[in-house]
């Protein structure tokens, strides 16, 4: 074999740039795992936290750098385009903010830091890879990398029974769902003769659509629907979110979801999935309704936010039923703004919960407006954004989704969505009412905000407000990547 042939077969330098964020995250993750046994346990939390933060920030920068080198890599398995860059940025930014949130949480809960930070970084590798993978088998592998990390992370409050329950439930049901996805991939391969999304898209566009492709899409949607907590595959969500550590919930309700939505966008639009509109219509309507109705009666803030995340998955899915030119950017924008507000909300919940996560019931938020005005005001901003009040990212997110749906003449689905957001306002408002209009029963002080947590909250607030006042830039970027994707 001569050199010319070798360079043809082996990946070129630029192809490594196209997976640079993944490489960086893996290296930092491994470094943390190696260092963990070498440093003293108390000191390790601080040190490893800083390393993890450095890793995630480096990954954000790598994403920005990578954006200058679009193209495919590794024999057409990975593709860097504006679309993947967008989701890389969302995932890595979430990772950085979650690490900032965890920094203080680790000490308060007395959790061993090594594996924790390692797993977050490894999980982020899977999520990043999901958004740039354009080949179903690689997508499956990336999905597994991300899922297995989150299964373990859910059980990290080792001393709490609910946390173990959460982890086990998530693991069992999650593996089941992944199997569905894999089965769907196999059927898709049977129907089209390829696992490459671009090729599948071409086949499904030109030929008459084989019945097997419908089955393949349906099964893949079961698997992915589970991961984004879309009804009717949502039943695990409240229990898992309740038991898992609060920063981890902030992480797993946003980053893996963003990645899976990226996969769904590629599968539904780039691969031109048959039967898309009705599949999505039903799932979206169910998620919005069941999520909001379920949230109405919750007394536990984490469960409340879990149901709210089901509802938001529903709003997001509405965009998938729309036309690609409006639907894709709307979904991307929604992912970003949902990430900003939800990570922030869980950061507040994590801080307020205190040692052993004792304070997570809604009643305990009474009087927070007086005890800690800053914390209450921040949470209020996130909740208003979740309601969808103007000047917050949540408003434009809903706005783009619903106007995309209207442009596709989905009036019924839009009406369901709009009415649901009105119902949703009620339970978010309950939290605000608790904080500002009820007096607290105890005078237990709220721990002062640490620098790391304040930074995390500031980033989330700024992102939420930025998306609510100047959404143009982000949406334009998303529209551009949508056109690239559909070319």
């Amino acid at each position: 074999m001569n050199t010319a042939e070798l360079t043809r077969i082996l990946p070129q330098g630029v192809e490594y740039v196209r997976i640079l964020p993944e490489i960086i995250l893996s290296l930092f993750g491994m470094a943390i795992m190696v260092l963990d046994p070498l440093v003293d346990q108390r000191a390790s939390r601080k040190l490893l936290g800083i390393i993890a933060l450095a890793g995630s920030v480096a990954a954000v920068l790598a994403t920005l750098y990578q954006a200058q080198y679009p193209g495919t890599a590794f024999w057409g398995m990975v593709k860097v385009d504006s679309f993947s860059v967008f989701f890389h940025f969302v995932v890595t930014a979430i990772t950085a903010v979650v690490i900032l949130t965890s920094y203080e949480y680790m000490d308060v809960q007395n959790i061993r830091a090594g594996e924790y930070y390692g797993l977050i970084l490894f999980g982020a590798v899977g999520m990043c890879l999901m958004s740039s993978a354009v080949e179903l088998v690689l997508i499956f592998i990336a999905l597994e990398i991300s899922s297995i990390s989150t299964y373990v992370l859910a059980g990290f409050r080792r001393r709490a029974a609910t946390s173990a329950e959460s982890s086990l439930k998530y693991f069992l049901l999650g593996s089941f769902a992944t199997a569905f996805f894999l089965y769907g991939v196999a059927m898709m391969f049977g129907a089209t003769g390829s696992t490459s999304i671009a090729v599948i898209g071409q086949v499904l566009r030109t030929n008459s659509i084989p019945l097997l492709a419908y089955a393949g899409i349906a099964l893949m949607f079961v698997g992915l629907g589970f991961k984004v907590a879309a009804a009717p595959f949502h039943v695990w969500t409240p229990d898992v979110y309740e038991g898992a550590p609060a920063p981890v919930v902030g992480f797993m309700s946003t980053a893996p979801k963003a990645a899976v939505f990226a996969v769904l966008l590629r599968v539904m639009f780039e691969a031109n999935a048959p039967g898309r509109v009705w599949l999505i219509w039903v799932a979206a309507a169910l998620s919005m309704t069941l999520g909001n109705v379920g949230a109405l009666v919750q007394q536990n803030v984490k469960r409340l936010l879990a149901y709210s995340s089901i509802a938001h998955a529903g709003y997001l899915l509405v965009a998938f039923a729309a036309l690609p030119a409006n639907g894709i950017p709307a979904a991307m924008f929604y992912t970003a703004s949902y990430a900003a507000m939800n990570v922030g909300a869980f950061a507040v919940v994590a801080h307020f919960a205190g040692a052993g996560e004792r304070r997570i019931s809604l009643d305990e938020y009474a009087g927070l407006g007086r005890k800690s005005p800053v914390l209450a005001a921040t949470l209020t901003i996130f909740l208003l954004s979740l309601i969808g009040i103007p000047t917050t990212g949540g408003f434009f997110a809903k706005f783009y989704v619903f106007s995309a749906a209207l442009q596709a003449n989905l009036v019924g689905l839009t009406m369901i969505g709009v009415l649901n957001s009105a119902v949703g306002a009620y339970y978010y408002l309950r939290v605000i009412v608790m904080m500002y209009m009820r007096e607290s029963r105890d005078e237990a002080p709220v721990a002062p905000l640490s620098i790391s947590l304040s930074t995390a909250l500031a980033i989330s607030v700024i992102a939420t407000i930025y998306l609510g006042i100047l959404p143009g830039q982000v949406l334009e970027f998303a529209s551009r990547s949508a056109t690239e994707l559909m070319r």
Binding site: S403, L406, A425, I432, M437, L475
Partner: protein, 505 residues
């Protein structure tokens, strides 16, 4: 000329100075006195700046003035488009006029979480002004929703009694209703590709909107329900008495003085402006609901044992007049409706302030708790009588002009509307004067009423502007009407064409 340089900026300045003040306020240390003084300065500054609008307004012109139109967000195509015509200009001035008075009246009654209170109030002021000056439907909706949160928090945090219930009810009612408006706005955007009010209006008039004929009725209703809840029109009124009774005084003043007008202003601007044919087709049942509101509100007010609830129901009755005027589609009716909006803002604002002054002293609004107050509080009684008479519609005070015009408009539309509406005037004299008699005349029945201190200087300063405004508006209504008239006339043009079409057939 100096004015031309200012013109495009002035609306933005008036709108956002309170917000800027609120932001500065977050940085100030928690020294209550400084915070109060600062808020007063900011709100007075806003008022003085807003006076630029009527002073330099071209009164003979019908269109929007002081316009500013710059692209804000490219997709969707949202423009930062502000402008006022003769109707909205006065509503802006009403808002900026009432806010400093609210700061004064809350001086001592708010003594906990003072900083938050004034921040919320200034944010609310920005949102309210924004509603009146926005000419982009999106920006309008933006401000419309933005009024909700500070108001709900003001009620829920500083109110009394069942304040949380009242705040949540207020929020949910308005929120759910405005969702329908949002859906209608989105539909229009999906078809026309712009949120700009002027562009939309001309596109609709030129018949360039696809499927408009089949959707127009729904669009009309979408906007109408949002505004009807805000006004509130019977039977969507049930949030109002709760919100008013539990709200702090300043909250009640702004709620009755400005927020309710957002609903009637919306009907005038959007329901009439965008959907004239549907407005005409639906006018009969709107008029009936408005008349029910006028009479029902008055009858319920008559039997209220609670002073604040009485004023709240009187608002339902008075706002019924406004809708009556708007949907009469006559020049006099619309002029009168706009004038009632302004007059009601001043006089009901005054009534709520007076009720608040009494509450500060006795911590109750029950009419039965009082009696004979004229002896112990003569100045207070004089102010109260003046404002009551203004509200009742005594000639030469502000209530009379508007009611007269509305009723003459209603007569022109159909005599029975005018006759039934006129009974509302009689009722209002009944319940207000009866309340006055029970509170101020007769013997003092409760010992604690004998030693009540009369109004102090600060309270007088808060009430005197309202009283003067009520008098000037009654004596020289043309100052206001000559700006309102061209705007109203322009709004009525499509109706005259419609009427012509009907006659032609």
């Amino acid at each position: 000329m100096n004015m031309d340089k200012w013109s495009p900026m002035i609306l933005s300045l008036v709108t956002f100075i309170p917000l800027a003040g609120a932001m500065l306020l977050t940085l100030l240390p928690r020294r209550d006195r400084d915070i109060r003084v600062f808020s007063l300065v900011v709100s007075l500054l806003t008022f003085v700046l807003s006076l630029h609008l009527p002073v330099h307004f071209h009164r003979a012109l019908a269109g929007f003035q002081y316009q500013i139109d710059i692209p804000w967000i490219p997709t969707p195509n949202i423009h930062y488009h502000l402008g006022v015509d003769g109707v909205s200009m006065w509503l802006v001035v009403l808002t900026t006029f009432l806010t400093p008075l609210c700061v004064l009246i809350s001086w001592n009654s708010i003594h906990e979480r003072v900083k938050e209170f004034f921040i919320l109030m200034l944010v609310l002021e920005t949102a309210m002004i924004g509603v009146f000056v926005a000419l982009d439907l999106f920006v309008f909706y933006f401000f419309w929703e933005a009024t909700l949160i500070p108001m709900a928090l003001l009620i829920g945090m500083y109110g009394h009694g069942r304040k949380v219930y009242a705040a949540v009810k207020f929020f949910m009612y308005t929120m759910i209703a405005s969702m329908f408006m949002l859906a209608a706005i989105l539909w229009l955007y999906a078809k026309v590709g712009t949120f700009d009010f002027v562009t939309l209006q001309s596109a609709i008039r030129a018949g360039q909107v696809d499927n408009f004929a089949s959707a127009a009725q729904w669009l009309f209703l979408g906007f109408f329900i949002a505004f009807a809840v805000k006004v509130p029109l019977f039977p969507f009124h049930t949030w109002l008495p709760d919100a008013h009774v539990e709200a702090p005084t300043a909250g009640s003043v702004l709620l009755a003085g400005v927020l309710l007008k957002m609903g009637t202003y919306g009907m005038l601007r959007f329901n009439l402006g965008l959907f004239p044919e549907q407005a005409r087709a639906n006018a009969w049942w709107v008029m009936i609901l408005a008349l029910i509101g006028v009479i029902y509100g008055a009858l319920v007010a008559l039997v209220q044992p609670n002073m604040k609830k009485l004023i709240a129901y009187s608002s339902i009755s008075h706002l019924g007049f406004v809708i009556l005027g708007i949907f009469s589609f006559t020049q006099a009716g619309l002029d009168g409706a706009t004038f009632v909006m302004l007059a009601h803002g001043v006089s009901t604002g005054g009534l709520f302030m007076l009720a608040g002054i009494l509450y500060e002293r006795r911590h109750t609004y029950e009419i039965a708790e009082f009696g004979g107050l004229a002896t112990s509080m003569p100045v207070y009684a004089a102010f109260f009588l003046f404002v009551v008479l203004a509200s009742v519609g005594l000639p030469l005070l502000n209530g009379f002009v508007g009611e007269f015009l509305v009723l003459s408009g209603a007569f022109q539309a159909r005599a029975v509307y005018g006759i039934l509406g006129a009974t509302g005037v009689i009722w209002s004299a009944g319940y207000l004067l009866w309340m006055y008699q029970r509170v101020f005349f007769g013997k003092i029945t409760h010992a604690s009423n004998e030693t009540l201190p009369d109004m102090d200087l600060r309270e007088r300063i808060a009430l005197v502007p309202a009283a003067i405004a009520a008098l000037v508006m009654g004596v020289a209504p043309l100052l206001w009407l000559n700006a309102i008239d061209p705007a109203v006339h322009a709004a009525l043009v499509p109706f005259e064409q419609l009427a012509g079409k009907v006659v032609g057939q």
